[in-house]
């Protein structure tokens, strides 16, 4: 069992020193940003032009749904959010810091990427995970 929490996805990076961050892979040819490592760009087809980039920690809410029914054992309700980061990447995650009420959720509301324990979820080996969340700015 790892003493350090493990990243929930491979594009969440936990450096030995310094803060966690999300990593994108940007095509040096057309500028498209992807999540996770890859060699070929699916926008323009360029090969071996991918460069790792640190993704922005701020963005705006693009779209969402308030999930009231999910798979067994998943706590509801929660807000599933699609967020456009300032650098052009788009991510999906839970939106926190705002009530799961359609009247309270505004398109383009500013959000911040924050890192926290993955809601207490552990894998079979008992490892803890670090996840990312979108926090609505007050």
């Amino acid at each position: 069992m790892s003493k350090k929490p493990l990243p929930v996805v491979d594009y969440l990076k936990i450096p030995d020193s310094g803060d966690p961050y999300l990593e994108g892979h940007k095509c040096g040819s057309c500028g498209a940003i992807f999540l996770g490592e890859r060699n070929v760009c699916s926008k323009c087809g360029a090969r071996d032009k991918m460069q790792a980039v640190k993704l922005a920690s701020k963005g705006k809410l693009y779209s969402f749904s308030i999930v009231h029914r999910s798979f067994p054992g998943i706590e509801v309700p929660y807000i599933s959010a699609v967020v456009d980061l300032e650098d052009g990447a788009t991510l999906k995650g839970n939106l926190i810091g705002v009530e799961p009420d359609p009247a309270k959720i505004k398109f383009d509301m500013p959000v911040e990427v924050v890192f926290a324990d993955a809601l207490g979820r552990k894998d079979r080996e008992g490892n803890s995970y670090l996840s990312y969340f979108f926090k609505a700015k007050a």
């Binding site: 493990l6 749904s65 999930v67 029914r69 599933s80 999906k92 995650g93 359609p102 993955a118 979820r121």
Partner: protein, 380 residues
Amino acid sequence: MTDAYVVGVDMIKFGRFPDRTVPQIGAEAALLALDDCGLTIQHMEALYCGNLGQASGMVGQRILQLIGQTGIPVVNVSNACATGATAFREAWAAVKAGLYDCVLAVGVEQMGKGLLGGAGGATGIPKEGLLGSGTMPAVFAEAGMEHSRKYGTTFEQFAKVSVKNHHHSTLNPKAMYQIETPLEVVMNAEMISYPNTKLMCSVNVDGSAAAVICSEKKAKELGLMKRAVKVRASVLTSDPWQERDLVMPDVNSCTRLAAKKAYEMAGLGAEDIDLVELHDCFATAEILHYENLGLCKDGEAGMMIDTGAVALGGRIPVNVSGGLLSKGHPLGATGIANIYEVATHLRGEAGKRQVQGARIGMTHVIGLGSACGIHILEKA
């Protein structure tokens, strides 16, 4: 190239058949389609079989083991919710290419109940409810909310889609449900994933549909032109790159691309279409496709549902079968069931739900991942 015609087509009444096997359910539709045109399995030169749940299970061959092992080639097709349409299209393509003169396409599915969608990977921890939602109601809710942000589409407008399609299904004896659902009932039903309530989610059902496709020469030779339906366009697309499609499956671009190609292939425009069966897997999705298919201008979809333009008797009736929302959505069968619905109207045989004077119709499905299949049919 020859023209290809649907000469026989039918579907079973959708329902739940836990005591039957997938091949049994598929065989029933296959026999109905053969009976519809008075042909036998011995006339069929190939079988294209669409099924998702047993994609590696040789469903097509097992259907033939029930209705006639004539040794013909069988192609088993799996393409998410575009599976049935893909099987139909492969059958059509083989006839167009002159490989065969008479072929059978079958779509069949046996579904469980409950949510479809991403339960998470095999390693690590479940991501559902941690990194947003991968359930289908949420994914299509987010797609609908994208329309809301652009055009102000409301929860009530999305809900009206469900009211309309459930009303249509009361006129379709082969639909899973024939129940009126007034607006307040739809809006007050259990919220699954805002803005989709339970009555705004398609019904998981078992079902099958089948079509016999012939070349023009063969259809004439067999004396089957009277009820034949010409395939004016058959198009399949995958999802072109879009900036958000890593996290937001895009049902719009592949539909727009397919619609453009289909109208070009048919030499027709949206104004020529008399009815549409489109992929209303969720009420939010139907709204998007009015615009994607060119039935109205961008931003007018809310008006289309508000004014009744898309209801039976309206300018361009959509999902008069009851749609996936009420007829039901047996994934692999849906694409061919849509063909059945449109063909039945073009033949003037749709009874109480008949779209009067229908001459040309369109079918549309989306398989998330993504695949879009569009067919344009015309009474021969």
